[in-house]
């Protein structure tokens, strides 16, 4: 295995290439343009296709077409581009196209800012495009996980014939860390489900968003069954010191790195803080919350946004058993001291549970 220091975005791109990605389309947007830049020369090296689309809308639909023809296809973007992707992604879902999208989150509404953020959570896990669906959503919190998740995303997407989203963020994308690069996967794009031209006597294939060729009730039942299976079997998470925790933090991506430091610092001070770090955001790792002791005084999400988007899922998961809070730090990444202090304030009953954060 090859080890080297890489920037998170480049690691994500290289992980995808090694995972068999042979098509990339995208449009430049900070803080993820390094993915596009890496692909612009790397796809040539490996005999794949790179297209700088004329827009995000073009890029997401190029990815649809490439994947429909069998190539393992990736596109990547950040907040404002991710919004433009939503229609296209919904088409991937309804057509059962196992393409992969990476969103390197930044902060803000509309155009927003280029600094790291966690503003696309709702959009990522609650649908986002037309219709009711969920994306299988992976949340890396290190350069290594950018490699690993991009690497395995195609196999995961194909396992369920469903799109996969890698929800990273500006810090994980821009930071550098050592990482191990896995070997190159050989992938045959000549898949039985892919369109490649209909030979005489064969039945033709139409990869489409509309269930014209299948009974709609049957299709719906099949999709629902698949969603339930994914929800049950694909939950992933990491827990730190949860079993005896008086307060439990819940954080993903860059916030989970800060929260982990907060747990260490609090424990050194004798304060029993724990952390659940969702690795899949959908399916949400509900099973992780069973470990929280009854004596816990509160569950706090730590998020780089205004409204504590992930807290919704914590509320759904704990079903009123614990009060829930959100330490939202807007466009700034939380400080370790700030997380510890907030947790202590919750423990001491100094913080009111808000309806809206």
């Amino acid at each position: 295995m090859e080890k080297r220091i890489m920037k998170g975005n480049e690691a994500l791109a290289e992980g995808a290439v090694r995972g068999g990605c042979r098509f990339y389309a995208g449009y430049p947007i900070t803080p993820q343009s390094e993915i596009l830049e890496w692909m612009s020369w790397r796809q040539k090296e490996v005999g794949g296709v790179f297209i700088q689309g004329e827009s995000e809308i073009a890029s997401v639909n190029m990815t649809f077409a490439a994947r429909s023809l069998g190539a393992r296809a990736l596109t990547s973007t950040s907040g404002p581009g991710f919004s433009l992707y939503q229609e296209g992604i919904a088409y991937w879902v309804s057509a059962g196209v196992p393409a992969v999208v990476a969103c390197v989150q930044r902060f803000g509404i509309g155009d927003g800012f280029i600094s790291a953020g966690q503003d696309n959570y709702w959009q990522a896990v609650k649908g986002g495009g037309n219709g009711d669906y969920h994306l299988i959503t992976l949340a890396p919190n290190s350069v290594q996980e950018n490699v690993d998740m991009a690497y395995e995303s195609f196999a995961l997407a194909e396992k369920w014939m469903h799109p996969v989203l890698i929800l990273s963020d500006g810090t994980i994308g821009q930071m550098m860390e050592p990482c191990v690069l896995p070997p190159m996967v050989d992938y045959d794009m000549d898949q039985p489900w892919a369109v490649k031209g209909c030979k005489d006597g064969e039945k033709n294939k139409v990869i489409t968003d509309i269930t014209y060729f299948q009974d709609i009730d049957e299709w719906n039942a099949g999709y629902l069954k698949k969603m339930r299976e994914i929800s049950e079997t694909e939950q992933r998470w990491e827990s730190f010191c949860v079993e005896d925790a008086d307060i439990v933090l819940v954080a993903y991506g860059i916030s989970s790195r800060v929260a982990e430091s907060a747990v260490h610092q609090a424990r050194e001070e004798g304060f029993k803080l724990g952390l659940i770090r969702p690795i899949t955001l959908w399916p949400y790792p509900r099973k992780a919350f069973k470990e929280i002791p009854d004596t816990c005084r509160g569950v706090i999400t730590v998020e780089v946004n205004m409204m504590g988007q992930m807290r919704d899922d914590v509320i759904i998961t704990v079903k009123g058993k614990f009060p829930t809070f959100a330490l939202t730090t807007n466009q700034r990444i939380a400080k370790v001291d700030q997380v510890v202090q907030y947790a202590k304030d919750v423990y001491d009953g100094k913080i009111r549970e808000e309806e809206v954060y």
């Binding site: 297209i51 077409a65 429909s68 794009m189 490649k196 033709n204």
Partner: protein, 241 residues
């Protein structure tokens, strides 16, 4: 005279309205693909609109991206499988309104792909609303008093818009009589030959009738194209490289 036998890939009756031009075009395309022996090498990118009904009568592989995004999807198709023909059957709303950006971007890159645009001057599937190609004074479901320059500017003419581009083939035809149908077939074949030879972007616009939304009989619709629509939209080959 017995009817000409439909090519094998036309496996069912089409579902278009009586007198619609789309069905005529699909048959023409089916014949050309068969005659060129490229059915198994063709992947059609469907638009969303009346045109997509080819899926229910033609045995050919296809993909259906969101409405209008054929320029982007065809680009990816051709890059991923250069050995396959990448073509779309689409409408004037898809190619020139919601998808104008993608259509023009594919043309400005001179992508080696082919557009067959059915121009019936209205949005057919949604009930005959104004399209970029709706002619001056033409009454539609969303321009009841007729299109005016003040409201929508000049009607869209792909010849004017694409004439300066570095593309391989640009032509316009109609399907109003056997002569025009034969000419359409020739243009369709020529466009696909450009793609076969790697010449670049080709677009054939076909003036087709929409009796349902025009409120005319099929026969009257054909006369209307010959007498009115074709006088506004020049027929023939504008670019042939």
């Amino acid at each position: 005279m017995p009817a000409r036998k439909a090519p094998d890939l036309m496996y069912a009756e089409n579902r278009f309205c009586a007198g619609c031009g789309h069905g005529i075009f699909d048959r023409i395309l089916g014949e050309v693909l068969t005659e060129m022996g490229i059915v198994q090498d063709t992947i059609i990118c469907s638009d969303i609109g009346c045109n997509h009904q080819f899926q229910f009568c033609m045995r050919v592989d296809a993909i259906v991206p969101p409405h209008g995004k054929m320029g982007a999807a065809l680009t990816a198709q051709k890059h991923v499988r250069p050995d396959k023909y990448a073509l779309t059957i689409c409408g004037d709303g898809g190619a020139y309104a919601i998808g104008l950006g993608e259509t023009m971007a594919a043309a400005t890159r001179n992508e080696n792909v082919t557009f067959f645009v059915m121009n019936n001057t209205v949005y057919g599937m949604t009930g005959g609303q104004l399209a970029p190609t709706t002619m001056m004074g033409q009454k539609t479901a969303s321009s009841k008093a007729g299109r005016t320059y003040e409201e929508y500017g000049e009607n869209f003419d792909v010849f004017k818009v694409m004439q300066g581009l570095d593309i391989a083939y640009l032509a316009r035809t109609s399907v109003t009589n056997p002569g025009n149908i034969a000419k359409t077939k020739k243009f369709v074949r020529k466009a696909l030959e450009k793609q076969r030879d790697g010449k670049g972007f080709s677009l054939v616009e076909v003036l087709v009738p929409c009796p349902t939304n025009w409120g005319m009989t099929p026969v009257k619709s054909m006369e209307y194209i010959d007498q009115v629509v074709s006088t506004q939209y020049q027929l023939g080959e504008l670019i042939d490289k």
